[in-house]
Symmetry: C2
Subunit: 322 residues, 2 copies
């Protein structure tokens, strides 16, 4: 049952010994009402403070998105955290980076970053939501979850982002962005993308009439994406249909892609030689730098003002350094 | 007037001296009837034989495609040949590789490869058409033109392919495939794709209601394409509308992309260092090998039988070696 194994069992048995409280760490338990997964607000790690727990609770609350959207995110967070279990340290970001808002209060956001322990292939896991009132009425809501591997594993990273600019409009980015040039490493293309049938979920989604391809205006974003990247724009006549699509299609598809990442990437035993490691370090560094600079660096100041944006981005930069 | 300059003027003035007959080489002259461009069947090079001229004539005839489709191809061939003028050697492929067919005669094809002279940034230019009767009636017609640069220039290559499986169905692949990993060389992304506004023609095409994105079933093909690659599937209710789209949209757009390639890639003065050259050599070699192996190696034997396919592919392999 590869899919249900904890990652450390496949990757580094030592991690079992390294945690002081692995048994009760952030677990996904069946909920009392509805199917909303309940994740412990505490990451059950001795170092976690009350403030950190409040930040985590705020993140897991996803207060501005619909129930199916929230369920999707919580399912992914719990699946990911369950697999890595005690390998993830609790989030220790400053409180004003775990939750921040614009001066006017029209935009607010939650951010959680959990670093992997030294024996983990995970460098860090980043979860976030952003809510911003729009001048036209309505709101922009972005929820995202990404997982970055360290240099001990040359597999792709994981990324999901849902951008909702109205109840009837959603952009989904769901991908395992490669960390090596797949032209030079065709075996990786085969291992991670062909043999795992990663194009299937993209094809399934394409069949839904409301789903259209989405082309990021940033050519850099297109360049770092994989050949099976799901980048779609969904527009529905009514909100109810959008919730149906999230529940019946985006939810299972995102779990499927995360499952591939967990089973065949993050938990794969990879042999990374010295030269490969140097290449990976350079490429990871460039991509992470551009993510801060292009992706966040352009939108954050607009949403939150320069001061808040700089505070958050400066803190994030520490994690994004390879 | 950069766009009208001959490439050798920008790149290597020595080439002016190296040609014995630059004045009358394959020129594009306004036609007596209609707007069909007339290109000399002779490549006007002393070494060209009568057999070679017959092969070239057969290629330029594009006997199985519609007038707008033929015009598009001839325009591109003439624009490309005019720019490189005397830098291109005539095609000296064996006659049974310049034109070949399946044993039953239901499939036939024309192939022209012109190598660049040693002072040219062009390694070779490849033009081809394939015609195959379909068991269901109707025919499959593929016309393509690609230009490969050598190691003195690290700019992208040029590629256009029109695949028509019925009078009302067409797949267009039009791209400047990068020769370096654009993640590691973001300056190249800016120079070749952003500053040249290469996404504009893709966006223009996207607006036509009959145009849908096309996803190659080969993930490798997707991997080697650029972030502005045009890969579309066009389906029209009637043949006439398809011809309109070819004439009014595909024709100007393909010229625009070729223009960017000529002005900003093939004729750009690039400084390629030793390390970059080694990287380029490795990557070019891998891509070309895969092109023969995956792209042609899978379809050629099916269309023409093993013996003919091997003869053609073995000859092509000599050009595709870096």
């Amino acid at each position: 049952m590869e899919a249900t194994m904890r990652c450390h069992l496949l990757h580094s048995p030592l991690s079992i010994l390294s945690s002081s409280s692995s048994s009760s760490s952030s677990t996904f338990s069946s909920s009392s009402s509805s199917r909303t997964p309940i994740i412990s607000a505490s990451s059950s790690f001795p170092m976690a403070t009350t403030q950190d727990e409040a930040g985590r609770r705020k993140f897991l609350d996803f207060p501005f998105v619909s129930a199916p959207h929230k369920n999707l995110m919580l399912d992914l967070v719990s699946t990911l955290e369950n697999r890595f279990d005690s390998q993830l340290l609790p989030c220790t970001l400053p409180p004003d980076v775990q939750h921040y808002q614009s001066q006017s209060g029209t935009a607010q956001a939650s951010l959680q970053i959990r670093s992997g322990q030294s024996n983990s292939p995970v460098d860090f896991v980043l979860g976030s939501w952003v809510h911003s009132e729009l001048p036209t009425g309505g709101s922009l809501d972005i929820t995202s979850l990404s997982a970055y591997l360290n240099l001990s594993n040359d597999s792709p990273n994981f990324l999901i982002e849902l951008i909702r600019s109205s109840p009837t409009m959603l952009v989904l980015i769901l991908d395992l962005p490669p960390r090596k040039d797949l032209v030079l490493w065709p075996d990786d293309l085969k291992t991670f993308y062909e043999d795992t049938h990663l194009d299937k979920p993209r094809q399934d989604l394409e069949k839904i009439p409301e789903v259209q391809p989405y082309y990021s205006s940033s050519l850099y974003v297109r360049t770092v994406s994989s050949p099976t990247a799901i980048m779609v724009r969904i527009e529905t006549p009514e909100e109810e249909r959008m919730e149906d699509i999230i529940r019946n299609h985006l939810d299972p598809i995102s779990k499927q892609v995360l499952g591939v990442w967990l089973d065949h990437c993050a938990c794969a035993k990879r042999d990374v030689g010295e030269a490969e490691r140097a290449h990976l370090k350079k490429r990871d560094g460039l991509i992470r730098g551009k993510t801060i600079e292009i992706d966040l660096g352009s939108s954050f100041p607009r949403l939150f003002g320069t001061e808040v944006a700089n505070r958050v981005l400066d803190t994030m930069r520490e994690y994004f350094t390879v």
